[in-house]
């Protein structure tokens, strides 16, 4: 496996350069991230750990191009994303990023298959190809027979596997997972985590996890601890 901070690394996949963000305004204004610099390399598994309110989710949102930093730069393959158009940013999120959220964010009345292929639908992939790719991902996650079920009719573990299938259907470079096991019991959570790390190992997908679950964080190659919006210990090998 890759080791951290080798001098011969190629261009990092994601690079944060002196990023700060603020929330609120006036006297209630506070700094959520404080001058954070961080590189994420292709094929890494990275855990962002910290207490609730430490800014770890904000950091992930900035990395995932869901939030714009107020100061500093984010480079994607060396290109400054803070200067990109919303359309270009949308395209990167659609084609190169996959998202796994704690609250699942499934469309309640749509079928499992329709939920899984949503990123492809947004990208404008034709219907037949969407079905083919959607079914292929559902097979991998052993959800093929659930394809016509309503998303709401699934158990928590199944829902999260559908969400993982949706994150993978575009064959992304990076999967961002925000407390992926937070809403699951520990046995189901372990299964879901196994799934994520298997994909990371087998396909070389870069994994960025936000968690306060130490067991889950321990499975990542690299830890970044965030405390009060700043990086505590920059890099710790697993």
């Amino acid at each position: 496996m890759l080791t951290t901070s080798s001098p011969h690394r190629p261009e990092p996949l994601l690079r944060l350069d002196g990023v700060s963000t603020w929330y609120g305004r006036g006297s209630g204004r506070f700094r959520a991230l404080h001058d954070v610099s961080l590189d994420v390399h292709t094929g890494q598994s990275l855990a962002l750990v910290g207490k609730s309110g430490s800014g770890k989710s904000t950091l992930m949102h900035v990395l995932a191009l869901l939030d714009r930093p107020d100061e500093g730069r984010l480079l994607v393959d060396g290109v400054d994303a803070t200067r990109m158009s919303p359309r270009a940013i949308g395209r990167i999120r659609n084609q190169r990023f996959g998202f796994v959220f704690q609250q699942f964010f499934l469309v309640p009345d749509a079928t499992v298959l329709d939920n899984v292929v949503l990123p492809l639908t947004i990208a404008g992939v034709p219907l037949v190809e969407r079905r083919r790719r959607g079914m292929a991902v559902l097979e991998q996650l052993r959800l093929a027979e659930k394809k016509d079920n309503r998303a709401t009719a699934l158990s928590g573990g199944q829902k999260q596997r559908v969400v993982i299938a949706r994150a993978l259907v575009t064959e992304p470079d990076v999967v961002f997972a925000d407390e992926p096991t937070g809403n699951l019991d520990s046995a189901t959570g372990d299964l879901v985590a196994d799934e994520l790390f298997r994909l990371h190992r087998e396909r070389g997908i870069t994994l960025v996890l936000v968690t306060h679950d130490e067991d889950l964080a321990a499975r990542c190659e690299r830890h970044v601890v965030i405390r009060d919006g700043a990086l505590g210990r920059p890099e710790v090998a697993a």
């Binding site: 869901l66 949308g90 964010f105 469309v107 949503l118 639908t121 947004i122 404008g124």
Partner: protein, 431 residues
């Protein structure tokens, strides 16, 4: 996102929340229903009146009468033109009643450029009509419209009067069919009838004529029509060889039907300079169509008020929908959907609501209207044959649907803009 997927998603979302969609569509339904009926009412009545007024003359005919005396008060007596009965009364009620036309007037008319075939219309006062060989008790009074020979009658059966020829032809209104002993209008055609006139010396004469057509009951007087040859014959008989001052109520003249408005106006001005008045069929139609347009305009205004209320309903429905689906919108934006496409999705949902409401509204309006036509034609309006009160034209129904879809789309732009502007991260955090 492909447009086809966008449309499918919009339709799916609309049908998902059934109660809300139904209530919103109901408001649009009322607007579409009303607007379809009022435009059909306008079209139906206008169509009927147009057919009625066609009876007054062909499109290329000018009806020339002596101009009305413009001075206020009673008209001064003039031994040359004044007639005891005011025979100059125009063919429409309310048309200018001036003097009569003299031979000199007709000669003057010949000098006007752009008109030809100037024909004085003689008036005859007919006593009665009866079937040849029938019972003398079965005689019925009849009036003959002076311009029938140049007009196009609104026929229930048979043919128009021939413009030329020496055959004696007559048209009778439908109400004469039964009293004269015919089974129906078709049965009456081709029969020889006798028209009775009394001459100036008090002697009664009968003239044979062929019944060529039966006319629908008319708004504009239920007179019969007589061909030119028959009118001449009747007028001769009535005169009884006594030398009369030739006075005519009306003269007709033809003009080039391709003339534009300016050319027609020029002719009218030239005729007016002679102290006469010329009217085209359109002029005679003018007042009636203005009144009808006014009435349908008011009715349409009510329908539009209903639609404006419905538009606010759409705004409200979609704002609630945007609020409710904040997380879904956030997800779609997080997964890379552009603001423009989100806007398109919600606008399409609004347009689809409009389409549902307007199609349902106009289909039901057409069904109700067709039933209503039958009921009205059999009941209160049976006296007006050939009248469909509600006339549904495909063009105007499509126009109503298009208008409502456009209104719905416009109403949808406000909520759609709100949805499109949502930041994905705010929407995902929203609880």
């Amino acid at each position: 996102m492909r447009t086809s997927d966008l449309v499918r998603a919009a339709v799916g979302n609309t049908l998902r929340s059934r109660v809300r969609t139904t209530l919103t569509v109901l408001a649009l339904f009322v607007g579409a229903f009303t607007l379809t009926l009022t435009t059909a009412l306008g079209a139906g009545v206008t169509d009927y009146v147009t057919r009625q007024v066609d009876q007054l003359g062909a499109q290329d005919v000018l009806v020339v009468t002596a101009a009305a005396d413009s001075a206020p008060g009673p008209a001064r007596y003039d031994p040359d033109t004044s007639t005891p009965s005011g025979a100059g009364a125009g063919p429409l009620p309310g048309a200018a009643a001036g003097g009569a036309l003299t031979e000199a007037d007709l000669e003057d008319l010949e000098t006007v450029a752009g008109i030809s075939d100037i024909e004085p219309v003689r008036t005859t006062a007919v006593d009665y009509v009866r079937v040849a060989g029938g019972d003398l008790d079965e005689r019925y009074q009849l009036t003959i419209a002076p311009t029938a020979s140049i007009a196009r009658a609104d026929l229930a059966a048979g043919e128009q009067l021939a413009a030329e020829g020496s055959a004696h032809e007559v048209l009778l209104p439908e109400e004469y069919v039964e009293p004269l002993g015919f089974a129906d209008a078709e049965d009456a055609l081709g029969t020889t009838v006798l028209v009775g006139v009394t001459d100036v010396l008090g002697e009664q004469h009968e003239v044979e004529a062929e019944l060529v057509g039966i006319t629908n009951p008319s708004l504009l007087g239920a007179g019969g029509g007589a061909g030119r040859a028959l009118v001449e014959e009747l007028a001769e008989l009535q005169g009884a060889g006594v030398d009369q001052r030739p006075l005519y109520a009306v003269a007709t003249a033809r003009f080039d039907p391709s003339s534009d408005d300016a050319a027609v106006q020029q002719i009218k001005d030239a005729v007016a300079d002679l102290g006469l008045s010329a009217q085209t069929v359109e002029d005679q139609l003018g007042l009636i169509t203005t009144v009808i347009a006014g009435i349908t305009g008011v009715l349409n205004a009510f329908a539009v008020v209903a639609l404006v209320a419905a538009a606010f309903g759409i705004v409200n429905t979609l704002l609630m929908s945007v609020q409710e689906r904040t997380r879904e919108i956030g997800l779609m934006k997080a997964l890379g959907m552009s603001g423009g496409r989100v806007f398109g999705l919600f606008s399409l949902e609004a347009a689809f609501l409009g389409l549902l409401g307007s199609v349902l509204g106009s289909v039901v309006a057409m069904a109700v209207g067709t039933g209503l036509n039958a009921v009205l034609a059999a009941g209160p309006l049976s006296a007006l044959g050939g009248l469909d009160v509600l006339l549904f034209r495909p063009g105007s129904v499509l126009g109503v649907v298009g208008l409502i879809v456009a209104i719905a789309f416009l109403a949808g732009t406000l909520p759609a803009r709100r949805a499109a502007r949502q930041e994905p991260i705010d929407a995902l955090r929203y609880e």
